[in-house]
């Protein structure tokens, strides 16, 4: 058992995590022996080749999937608040709810008062810059705006940790950059523990405090890199930063080995 002092600092503890999928008689090992500790308030990015199990890892953290063996623990600091909220890849906001009702979803499921809902939802809609669209239906929104709704929905639920599964993958380059910056701005004001999955090494280095590289299936921890670039970060400054270039290059080498191994 970890001691009381270290408990306060650690937010996510994963020990010896294994996940095996069984389809018929065939067994697929998705995750193998994952050990990972995420300190409170850290922005952790996970990269790795397609099919390496990073989404599975996230779904286990989200409670949408169960581990085959091993320990997964999210430390709860506030009783009564949800353990996690997830931002999904795309089109995860309910088409039948208006923007406001989508963002209020988690609060309503927890039976939060209307008063608190009004304050919280308005606050986060304002933060992602779509308060004026609160009465729109998703079909009236662009892809970027939909993902803003999804991000606001996750933050509004005030979870212990935020899980993001390639939330910007479907966006065009300009919108992607904008949303990355906006996400960092909100995050810097709230300092939630974030686990962020992405294909993009640039994105991982730009956003993360640390970047975890996973191996091709079966997914294992291949390397963990610190990103010592000071915050607040901006895309324009970073593009010319030597440290940023070196780090992305270094991580790309790691990922490339795995992609080639997987082919």
């Amino acid at each position: 058992m970890p001691s009381a002092e270290t408990l306060g600092e650690k937010k996510i503890i994963i020990k010896g995590l294994n996940k095996t999928f069984t389809t018929g008689r065939q067994e697929t090992i998705a995750l193998m022996n994952i050990d990972l500790t995420v300190p409170s308030g850290e922005f952790l990015c996970i990269v790795g080749p397609s099919g390496c199990g990073k989404t599975t890892l996230l779904r286990i953290l989200a409670g949408l999937e169960s581990a085959t063996s091993g320990e997964v623990k999210i430390i709860q600091d506030n009783q009564g608040l949800p353990l996690n909220a997830m931002v999904f890849q795309e089109n995860s906001i309910f088409p039948w709810f208006k923007v406001w009702d989508n963002v209020a979803y988690g609060l309503r499921m927890r039976g939060i008062s209307r008063q608190e809902e009004r304050e919280t939802v308005a606050y986060f809609l304002e933060k992602v810059g779509i308060l004026e669209f609160k009465d729109y239906y998703p079909y009236q929104l662009s892809g970027g705006m939909k993902q803003r709704v999804s991000i606001a929905r996750a933050f509004a639920n005030k979870p212990e940790i935020l899980l993001m599964d390639e939330p910007f993958a479907a966006l065009d380059e300009q919108n992607k950059l904008l949303l990355q910056e906006e996400l960092l701005t909100i995050w810097e004001q709230n300092r939630k523990t974030v686990v962020f999955i992405t294909h993009s090494i640039d994105e991982a280095v730009f956003l993360g405090d640390r970047v975890l590289t996973m191996t091709a299936r079966p997914g294992k921890v291949k390397a963990m890199a610190d990103v010592p670039i000071p915050r607040p970060r901006s895309v324009e400054e970073l593009k010319g930063d030597a440290q940023y270039r070196d780090l992305t290059k270094q991580i790309w080498h790691l990922v490339r080995e795995e992609v080639q191994r997987g082919v």
């Binding site: 989200a62 949408l64 949800p82 996690n84 995860s92 039948w96 709810f97 927890r110 239906y137 639920n157």
Partner: protein
């Protein structure tokens, strides 16, 4: 934009034109004796019978009886179908339990059950409405079930991630997600309700549009028969339009 509205106008005129053309050809053909006037009297003659039936109040009585059976059957069949459909969609075990019964009973022509139903409930509205309800039940049930099971998995994941359970899950995911399919089912159901109502009225009623058509066949009053057919098609048109209106109100997110 302007081009679009003028295009729309053109289409509207065309869609009114086609039935009028048919009526004119029919009228001329019938008057010239190109078709047998006993079986296909000219539309103007049918209009005269129409006025006569309206004037003596008979049409109103038949219309009322038919409308009652259609609507009662539609509600008695449709409401349980939506509820059972959603429950089956939500629970795999309940689906496994009920599905075989549905699959076996679905292909039975509902009218084939009419004599059996009349053994139990006698001649009268109970028997008619029951048959109509059964006719409505199946298309609504199948579409509702299909609607729930085809809801994108990601919405269930989101609901689960935000701890939605029980009634809240039903109201925020299952019902709204299935609504478009439910309305498809309701539109099919209203057609089914009309069909089964008219057929049960052929044999099992003393009033109603189906009875009117059947009776006018027996006494060879072809004009009246056509009036019945036209009024039934109008009922179908009006009810379907009403459901489509309702659909637009209930499903504002559907484009």
């Amino acid at each position: 934009m302007e081009e679009k509205t003028s295009q729309g106008k053109k289409h509207l005129i065309l869609s009114i034109l086609s039935p009028i053309m048919i009526l004119v050809i029919w009228e001329v053909a019938s008057r010239l004796g190109l078709v047998d006037r006993r079986f296909l009297p000219p539309p103007s003659k049918i209009a005269v019978s129409f006025v006569a039936i309206v004037a003596d109040g008979a049409l109103f009585i038949h219309l009322k009886a038919t409308l009652f059976r259609v609507l009662a059957g539609f509600l008695c069949g449709g409401i349980p179908a939506v509820i059972i459909g959603i429950i089956m969609g939500l629970s795999g075990s309940i689906r496994a339990l009920i599905k075989p019964l549905i699959v076996i009973t679905y292909p039975i022509p509902k009218i084939a059950l009419f004599p059996l139903v009349m053994l139990f409930f006698g001649l009268g509205d109970v028997s008619n409405v029951l048959i109509v309800s059964i006719g409505v039940f199946f298309p609504v049930l199948y579409n509702t079930l299909g609607g729930v099971t085809s809801i994108n998995r990601i919405y269930w994941d989101v609901a689960s991630n935000f701890s939605a359970r029980g009634l809240k899950l039903f109201l925020t995911v299952a019902l709204p997600g299935a609504l478009p399919s439910i309305f498809t089912g309701l539109k099919l159901g209203i057609g089914m309700a009309l069909l089964t109502t008219v057929v049960t009225e052929y044999v099992g009623a003393r009033e109603g549009l189906g009875f009117m058509i059947w009776f006018s066949w027996q006494v060879f009053s072809v004009g009246e028969m056509f009036v019945g057919i036209v009024v039934i098609s109008l009922i179908g048109f009006v009810l379907t339009t009403l459901i489509e209106r309702l659909e637009r109100v209930v499903i504002p997110w559907k484009v």
